[in-house]
Symmetry: C2
Subunit: 565 residues, 2 copies
């Protein structure tokens, strides 16, 4: 009855646990070093794959991740499912209405930012196919088209995240870049679908013409009739089935069906899932809660499995060829910068912003890696070109943020949780009055930041006298603005008994934040105060903070409070 | 490179889409008919499996769900993953502290409610092994132990849900039943682990003694040291990794590792996942948000795949044997009622409550089905006994709620969303005064419920004059209590312009609920008012309700508002 023996089942579970566990740990490490999480996830696969584990303990590696047999098949099936769900979610993040709203400027950046790198990729691939690593028996036309697409594609999720991190997402510049990236994504995946159509790998034995017509029909119908039907269906599901499970099951089913359809007609499943995601995600009825639920589960369980399994497939050391890596990096960054900067110039952006737009568009990220994987599997490219594409994807994703920050002199917004440290956490305030609480926290802040404690106390107290800083809900936010401070410093004290801070609701403060901020940047203090007030508006969060036995638990409680929207 | 051909990948995606889609649709239908969702999910598999599709279109069935080959292996792998995650979540729902708090009474009900049905199952299995469908070459001792466990196990998730539906979960009776079920679950799974140990199927070639010692060590260490370590790790993960993705990845990784360990030592993976879930879920640091996220994804994507795939394995018509079904049903219901009622009597419950406790414990639900599946795969039982166990699981789960309701004369609580109907939704109130609004809604209510419109209007208006019913946030809840009304009736009107209802915040009411409730049941009106107030405390919900173009969108908006906690 059972196809998998207990041993095989056990190995499958260990293999999955190792992939998810290692990918998550290294993904978090990458994030802490301000690198894209995908870098860590790939690295997990490199470590568990032939590159490291295979070199150190070949038998263990072959047992855990065999190249063939039932375990290999299951892992491949789960990997395929993961990538289909990942593209479904990526599609759901595409908001077509943003493109319309941005109008011509977005179209200009999108068109030039896609066509120029595409043309440059086309030229590069045509001039040096063998140097770049074309598979010997691959069709030259298909190879050239593929490389141009791989060089021209951009990774919407990476771009959106980079812009959010820099607080640029909601600006004109941010919206133009996002719309251009959406445009680019749609064009890129359609081109890739055409390439796969040219390959003629349709399992239903269709000719290339039929495949292309069906692809066009699928995308066209899905984005019009399908989109309209789903927009109708979602409120119905929310109203009459389990919420949010009903919509969740619906979204996954639609994504799988779309993926299966495009796979059958001879282009890859990911295209169908992506278009289904665009059609689904466009519905304003789809609640934030459902989106977040699918997104988190796919991003933190399925995506790590897929990206780590890429590292399993290829030996990244033996196939690392410096010249190919540099060529692909050069073609990608050069082509995109040229195209996007030209587009931004045409769209009327000032010189600095033009470059920012260009830098924002260079990331090929997950999309580049996925395209590369498909091409490797379809026998279009060789492993050394694949490795170069993966390296390019990671390097461009990591460079994008710092380059924009430099160009615009933009700063990462100062967030409460980025500024808290264990040294500035006073678990038990002994203070009985607001003055004493301010003194205690001023001493902590001064010691840590090398400032003058009395000066902080004096300024904070003067401020306190003009208007008390108890904001109610058991929280007070005394503050001092200093000339000689460059980074905000926050000292946080907890008082079980409570300290009177003259709050509007009459309650004593159990949590006291002393903010010491630069005098020339008044907005920092207001932003931080607003963030604190937002967290403590929900009374549960005060309880959790008071229950925290140490700094880690305190931090966890604040993050829970800050994330729950 | 690729093990699955495009065709096989396409088939895998279609097969998964069909399983999830059909299981969700039939699961929702079952829910609407007040039956357990699992009934619908199993039915989906029966329809897609040999029983129906296989009889109608054998080729299609064999293509979509082949019995062997790569697609069968992948589906089996995903099914195993699904059941491991399902048991992880089931374990997370177990709250050991409840058992301690309920103390002796819970222990009494738990002990007798587990041991008596176990003894009865033992006796039944020993007396008529062949009639019940023992596999010919199965060890008699193992068969007897298994059947006793299958008859004695109870389904904590089903029991908890039944009690919640009847508003009994937080009562003494509810807590005793839940603790008894937890006790029963732990004992049942441990016994099953022992049975599998006796089978000696350890892939590591361990003797039965070693297997049992390792099982005990695993459970013991996981529930003490492991539990303590996870309780420490969770705040750390929440504080320093992506929230809630970090904890999500951690929980799944731990579950998979636990499952792999127990699979290797020769007992089934589900035991390891279940115990890991208990240890994880016990941490008070694990946020509700993370729990709900795992729970929803597993319950609505993975569980349907597993339960539907059960229907694929067996022909439920050819293996349906009335006498075996009746025997198993009789042993299960008889044994459990006897045990639980005796335990409740010993614990000091009054006569009526004793029976309610007994009825609450009869559901074997998902746990019975999973045990049956494992036993079938291990070659302990034959298909006709498997079918009888599945049928018993569904019948007992479906009977439990109605029997308790009857015994305690308990009523399903009247919830807002259960009482709204499209006929009583007035999209555009023409009223300009509160009196006019009450009249308009009274007419709608009277027409639908066959009541006297003027009488409703008069009573509601008299009530309105004693104290205005505008509760602020743009909502008013006028109400009338009538003698001749048995079911509450709610008419809901929307006014774009707003109707003055003398609210404390001075805002006119855009949403007016007219509640008509039975005079002899004042709590209904208070409960409904509280529910309405809760929904509209969040201003976004008023916006969504006002944007609703029709009844379905209105209902979806209210559900979103009511579910978001």
């Amino acid at each position: 009855m059972r196809g998998l023996s207990p041993e095989q089942l056990g190995i499958m579970l260990v293999a999955l646990a190792l992939l998810i566990g290692a990918a998550r740990i290294l993904g978090e490490l990458a994030r802490r070093l301000h690198q894209p999480a995908i870098l860590g996830e790939l690295l997990a696969g490199v470590i568990l794959g032939p590159t490291v584990l295979g070199a150190l303990a070949p038998q263990v590696q072959a047992m855990l991740f065999p190249a063939s047999g039932p375990n290999a098949t299951v892992l491949e099936g789960i990997g395929s499912l993961a990538i289909v769900l990942f593209l479904l979610v990526a599609g759901m993040e595409v908001d077509l209405s943003i493109v319309w709203r941005q109008g011509r400027t977005a179209l200009k950046v999108g068109t030039l930012g896609t066509l120029i790198p595409f043309a440059i990729g086309l030229g590069g691939a045509a001039l040096m196919p063998t140097a770049l690593g074309r598979q010997v028996d691959a069709d030259p036309l298909i190879f050239v088209l593929f490389l141009a697409t791989a060089v021209a594609i951009s990774a919407l999720p990476v771009i959106a995240k980079t812009l959010m991190d820099l607080d640029l997402y909601r600006t004109d510049l941010g919206m133009v870049v996002v719309s251009a990236a959406i445009f680019n994504d749609l064009l890129g995946w359609t081109t890739f679908a055409v390439i796969l159509g040219l390959l003629g790998s349709s399992s239903a034995g269709l000719g290339i013409g039929t495949t292309l017509v069906l692809t066009g029909l699928y995308a066209g119908l899905m984005l019009t009739v399908g989109r309209w039907l789903m927009h109708r269906a979602i409120p119905f599901l929310q109203a009459y089935t389990h919420y949010p499970g009903g919509v969740l099951g619906f979204a996954v089913t639609i994504g799988l069906l779309g993926a299966a359809f495009t796979e059958f007609i001879g282009i890859h499943a990911v295209f169908g899932a992506f278009i289904a995601g665009v059609a689904l995600g466009d519905s304003s009825h789809l609640s934030e809660r459902t989106r977040v639920m699918i997104d988190e589960f796919v991003s933190f369980i399925f995506a790590p499995v897929f990206f780590a399994s890429i590292g399993l497939k290829v030996n990244f050391i033996t196939h690392f060829d410096v010249s190919v890596v540099l060529l692909i990096l050069g073609l990608t960054i050069g082509g995109k910068l040229l195209g996007a900067v030209a587009g931004a110039r045409w769209g009327g952006f000032a010189s600095r912003e033009r470059w920012a737009v260009g830098y924002a568009m260079i990331a090929t990220g997950a999309m580049g890696i996925i395209l590369g994987t498909m091409a490797l599997e379809a026998g279009i490219i060789r492993q050394r070109l694949f490795v170069a594409i993966v390296v390019t994807a990671i390097v461009t994703s990591g460079l994008s943020g710092p380059l924009i920050r430099r160009t615009l002199a933009a700063r990462r917004p100062q967030r409460l949780l980025g500024l808290l440290t264990p040294q500035l956490f006073v678990r038990n305030l002994s203070a009985e009055t607001s003055r004493q609480a301010i003194r205690e926290l001023a001493q902590a802040a001064a010691q840590h930041a090398g400032l003058d404690s009395e000066r902080i106390e004096q300024l904070a107290w003067e401020r306190e006298l003009t208007a008390a800083t108890g904001i109610g809900h058991g929280v007070a936010i005394p503050h001092a603005r200093l000339n000689d401070v460059r980074q905000p410093v926050i000292a946080l004290g907890i008082s079980e008994a409570g300290v009177p801070f003259d709050a509007p609701d009459g309650r004593p403060a159990h949590v006291v934040f002393l903010l010491v901020t630069p005098r020339d940047d008044p907005s920092v203090q207001l932003d931080l105060s607003a963030e604190i007030a937002h967290i403590f508006r929900d009374a549960h969060n005060l309880e959790r903070v008071l229950r925290a036995a140490n700094y880690t638990e305190l931090r966890a409680a604040l993050i829970r409070g800050a994330t729950k929207s």
